[in-house]
């Protein structure tokens, strides 16, 4: 069984690790001291770039690359630490904030030193009342001990960290939604470009970084780039591995919940398979795994035969899903996929900020169609039409077989794809909330179509067995495209 490698979480259970004195005993703030005494800011940026550290909040964007976009000649610059953990299935930031807040502060110190930032805000979700209390106490201690404020450790480097509470909006986890909320307004994401690195908080260059990403920095600083790049997946042992030019380095705090025996946060090298992770989490609760959401509710779903997929940024993208926040949700054979989709669509309909047309009125429409299907009012016609799948010549096309026409399933897929398109990977919305709504909807529908059809035919939710509910690999668009990338190309 894959073993945990607890780096960020190593001392999470040490009593009083949330206090400065105890934190200090475990190398606390020593990595920052090393940074500030032995390195220039540019050196640190270089290290971060070379380490291959990817943003852990959901986008998986190269942290070093993001930092390189920030113009160094505009003052002031800001850091916004994204502690608005709201992606369903994710709960790893909470433990850091509640139990080891000084680790986050140290990460922020290193980032701000490297970027020449003297004001950092930690946007912490309003419901994290305990987390904010612990963080505030730790910030207070850091000031008292001289690690925050002016001329830290006599280096000439100033930093103020302020915690800023949210108030219950998921969309404030989107980087520009966060910035708008921090500026005191409705958390409505901004049009990009310009990107926050260039024009962000108060229209100044801003780095927005997740709690977990920042918590990697002390260890990168303390142990060096080579140590860091050794962690994470080595490649080459299966046909599904991503090319070496896009390394997925470091550990990930994998959150796993739902139908597993030991839900929790497991810190593991990036790149273990979904199957391996479920094993680490005590195996499936129930008899079999029916479906797995690999990266928070915004991620397209994986079927029971896709669990050999590696849970890292690149592999999952090649499987037409995403690692996102790393919140894995497991569903067993007793679960109805239509019902699960309904739950998630209700979530998104509630959390849509309402700014742009497709999301504002498209998201509840998708929810309503799924609701109707779940209520037994899904529509089916008596027509048949050609069935598409892996066809002659190894291309996706007309298989020569016929299939039933379920109007509401066509409608569901069409409306969802009009918000954001799974196949072209584009979105008509201002932000990627559109993707978060439509990619799950389309993936659940395509991969578990039998359960949707059954609900329509039977006039009520019908939970099928794992095999019956899942489309076979030959009809699974994502599976086929993974092994045959040319499947969706036009014939030459």
């Amino acid at each position: 069984m894959v073993q945990e490698r607890r780096i960020l979480y190593e001392h999470l259970d040490v009593p009083d690790i949330n206090t400065f004195d105890v934190f200090r005993q475990y190398d606390g703030y020593k990595r920052f001291e090393k940074a500030i005494k032995e390195y220039q800011p540019d050196d640190i940026c270089d290290m971060v770039m070379k380490s291959g550290l990817k943003g852990r909040g959901g986008a998986g964007f190269s942290t070093g690359l993001k930092w390189s976009f920030v113009p160094r000649d505009i003052e002031p610059r800001y850091l916004c630490c994204n502690a608005d953990e709201s992606e369903p299935g994710t709960f790893s930031n909470r433990y850091v904030l509640e139990r080891n807040p000084h680790l986050l502060i140290e990460g922020i110190l290193i980032c701000c030193y490297a970027m020449g930032i003297s004001t950092a805000y930690v946007y912490i979700r309003g419901e994290f009342t305990l987390g904010k209390r612990m963080l505030d106490a730790a910030i207070e201690e850091a000031y008292q001990q001289g690690y925050l404020g002016k001329d830290i450790l006599g280096s000439g480097f100033d930093l103020d960290i302020y915690s800023h509470p949210g108030a219950g909006a998921y969309i404030c986890g989107e980087e520009t939604g966060l910035i708008e909320s921090l500026e005191g307004k409705r958390g409505q994401p901004r049009v990009k470009p310009p990107f926050p690195a260039v024009e962000g908080l108060f229209h100044k260059p801003t780095v927005v970084q997740n709690v977990e990403t920042l918590c990697n920095l002390p260890f990168l600083m303390g142990n060096g780039v080579e140590w860091y790049t050794d962690i994470g997946r080595t490649y080459g042992d299966t046909r599904f591995d991503p090319p070496q030019s896009d390394p997925n380095t470091g550990t990930k705090l994998y959150c796993i919940s739902g139908d597993v025996n030991k839900p929790g946060v497991y810190e593991l090298d990036l790149g273990l398979t979904a199957e391996e992770l479920i094993e680490v989490a005590g195996g499936v609760r129930g008899e079999r795994v029916k479906a797995v959401i690999p990266g928070g509710s915004s991620a397209p779903i994986l079927t029971h035969y896709e669990l050999e997929c590696r849970l890292d940024f690149t592999s999952l993208t090649l499987w037409k899903s995403m690692l996102g926040s790393g919140g894995i949700i497991v569903m067993n054979e007793t679960r109805n996929i239509v019902d699960c989709l309904l739950n998630i669509m209700k979530f998104y309909a509630h959390e849509s900020c309402g700014q742009c047309t497709p999301c504002r009125w498209g998201t509840p429409w998708v929810r309503d169609i799924v609701q109707r299907i779940a209520d037994g009012e899904g529509r089916q016609t008596t027509m048949q039409r050609p069935k598409f799948g892996v066809a002659e010549g190894g291309r996706w096309g007309d298989t020569g077989e016929m299939e039933e026409v379920y109007e509401d399933l066509d409608l569901l897929e069409s409306v969802a794809n009009n918000i954001a398109n799974v196949d072209t990977m584009t979105w008509n919305t201002i932000c990627v909330f559109g993707i978060a709504v439509s990619w799950p909807a389309v993936s659940y529908l395509r991969k578990f179509r039998p359960e949707f059809e059954a609900a329509i035919r039977e006039g009520k939710l019908v939970t099928l067995s794992v095999e019956e509910a899942t489309v076979p690999p030959e009809e699974n668009y994502a599976y086929q495209q993974r092994i045959v990338p040319s499947l969706f190309e036009a014939p030459t």
């Binding site: 949210g166 108060f202 509630h350």
Partner: protein, 173 residues
């Protein structure tokens, strides 16, 4: 709906302590408007909910038109525009908690107090007549490993069953 402007009968003012806290807050930002969310949290703690009087006061403190306060208050579910019970119960209902039977906990609370689930525009229907409890559904509370979870005011309760819920609620004054 008339076009008569309402008069605020009892204006709202921060307590001395809260006014000092507000003064500290605005030092943190280059623009007063940015203090909106923490100021509203502070005001709601003092007043119990965000009334028009509260909105006028916050607007005045932040030097903004009052609509800019109202549009923020209605955007964020944690701000209430109506009085709520002494204890606000938030039952998480998103997928991981749903997979762990949060529905049983919710239904149990509904039955226990004979109330409905409050909605954002109608808090009264989810509030007990003695105004002790208000029941809300919540979106994911980021505690999926200990699902199902419920927040009661600032406290999070984990691994709940209807029985455990009873224990907690019965123990509240």
């Amino acid at each position: 709906m008339s076009n008569e402007l309402i008069q605020i009968e009892t204006p709202f003012q921060f307590s001395e302590e809260n006014q000092q806290e507000f003064e500290r807050l605005i030092q943190r930002y280059p623009v007063k408007e940015a203090a909106m969310l923490p100021t509203l949290h502070l005001a709601q703690k003092q007043a119990g909910y965000i009334s028009p009087a509260v909105m006028e006061h916050v607007a005045e403190l932040l030097e903004l038109p009052v609509m800019k306060v109202k549009d923020v208050v209605t955007f964020y579910p944690m701000f209430f525009e109506e009085p709520v019970g002494k204890y606000v119960i938030r039952v998480c209902y998103t997928l991981p908690c749903a997979l762990r039977d949060c529905k049983l906990v919710l239904e149990h609370i509904k039955q226990k107090f004979d109330i409905d689930v409050a909605s954002e525009t109608d808090l009264a229907k989810g509030t007990t007549p003695d105004e002790k409890f208000t029941l809300l559904k919540s979106e994911c509370l980021a505690s999926c490993d200990v699902a199902p979870v419920v927040m009661v005011n600032d406290d999070l309760y984990k691994n709940l069953t209807p029985e455990k819920m009873d224990e907690i609620l019965d123990g509240l004054e």
